[in-house]
Amino acid sequence: MKKSKGQTTVLLLFFLPIILLILAYTLSNGKLIYKRIKLQNATDGAAYTAALWQARGLNVISDLNWCLVSAYTAETLTQNFTYPVTKSVILGQDMINRTFPGTGALAGYNNFSRNFSNGKVAPLSLSGMFSLKVKRFGKPIMLQYMVKDTETAWVNQRNRGPFVLMIGFAGAETGFIGANAFGFGIPAMKAIAQAMPDKEDTDIRKLLNEYDISLVTGDLWDPSYEPKLIPVSLGLTILSKGVLH
């Protein structure tokens, strides 16, 4: 009598490689994505932290400028920074304000171009301001933010401030048989993030407090720099191509 035991084993032998392949594909994909997410989070965190330290520096500079202006004027107690604040103080603060908006104590001096002959100067006009009409529980109010896009200025405000470009790299992992055994290894991958200390879009307090703030006379309301992740723009164009993989 012929023994016919073990026929199911043969069937399993046929299916087993298929099942193992599916399993390997699934697990390697999962691990890859997990690693990618961790790498991207790490890169973002590093960029954010660097921009945070830059923002703290700029805030310190801002406070020091206020102290300087106070030291140079007689109106230390009343904080009334109109005439007779010296012209040089105003011009210096205006220049600082154009370079790093909001760090200077004063801005908006009229004859800026005649006193600084190097480079071009953009007049701070209300028509160049980015204004936002907001309707809340009542009639709409007009919030005026700082100048967003000036074509020519003492320093191009589009690239104002320092920014941080962080590139993260994770090396390939050695697998069970090799890094790319049957195409299921975890290859090397990279991530990129950019952050900048910014002052404008982060202030929701203006909206909540119903202040109609005009910033021609300087940031007397004193919002400070905060770090912000921005789209990666290596100089000129924004890389908005989706996800780097």
Binding site: M1, S4, Q7, T8, L11, F15, I19, I22, L23, Y25, T26, N29, G30, I33, Y34, R36, I37, Q40, D44, L132, D201, T202, I204, E226, K228, L229, I230, P231, S240, G242, V243
Partner: protein, 129 residues
């Protein structure tokens, strides 16, 4: 008993094969569900990250979130249901959450009738300032 046992192997085979196929289908289904799970996770992560990076204050970040999530879903596989996936973005106080739901068809024969579709959900929250 020494009767004729011709065709015994065939009968056993016929009885065993459905179980095998059922188990095989279950394995494939599980792999498909895992695939959907990490695809949804990655899509939601990309969407949330795109939203907080690209969005400015007056605009809503939903547009960027959906764009990035669709990019990932379309690149992920040939499954047409992945393109029917639902992408939802919601504001919490200082974070933004994106939820991606991918419907996966159930291929297991009798379970099919009770639960035709498995919805696979994943969401990420990222801080918004």
């Amino acid at each position: 008993m020494r009767g004729k046992t011709h065709g015994q192997a065939l009968v056993e085979f016929v009885l065993v094969i459905p179980m095998f196929i059922l188990v095989f289908i279950c394995i494939i289904q599980t792999a498909l569900l895992f695939n959907a799970q990490y695809t949804a996770k990655y899509a939601s992560f990309c969407g949330a990250r795109a939203a907080i990076v690209h969005a400015k204050f007056p605009d809503k970040p939903d547009v960027y979130a959906k764009l990035a999530a669709r990019y990932v879903l379309n690149a992920g596989s040939l499954n047409p249901l992945k393109q029917v996936a639902l992408v939802k973005g919601e504001y919490l106080l200082f974070e933004y959450r994106v939820t991606v739901t991918i419907p996966i068809k159930n291929y297991i024969p009798l379970y099919n009738l009770f639960v035709p579709i498995f919805p696979v959900k994943a969401s990420t929250r990222l801080p918004v300032e």
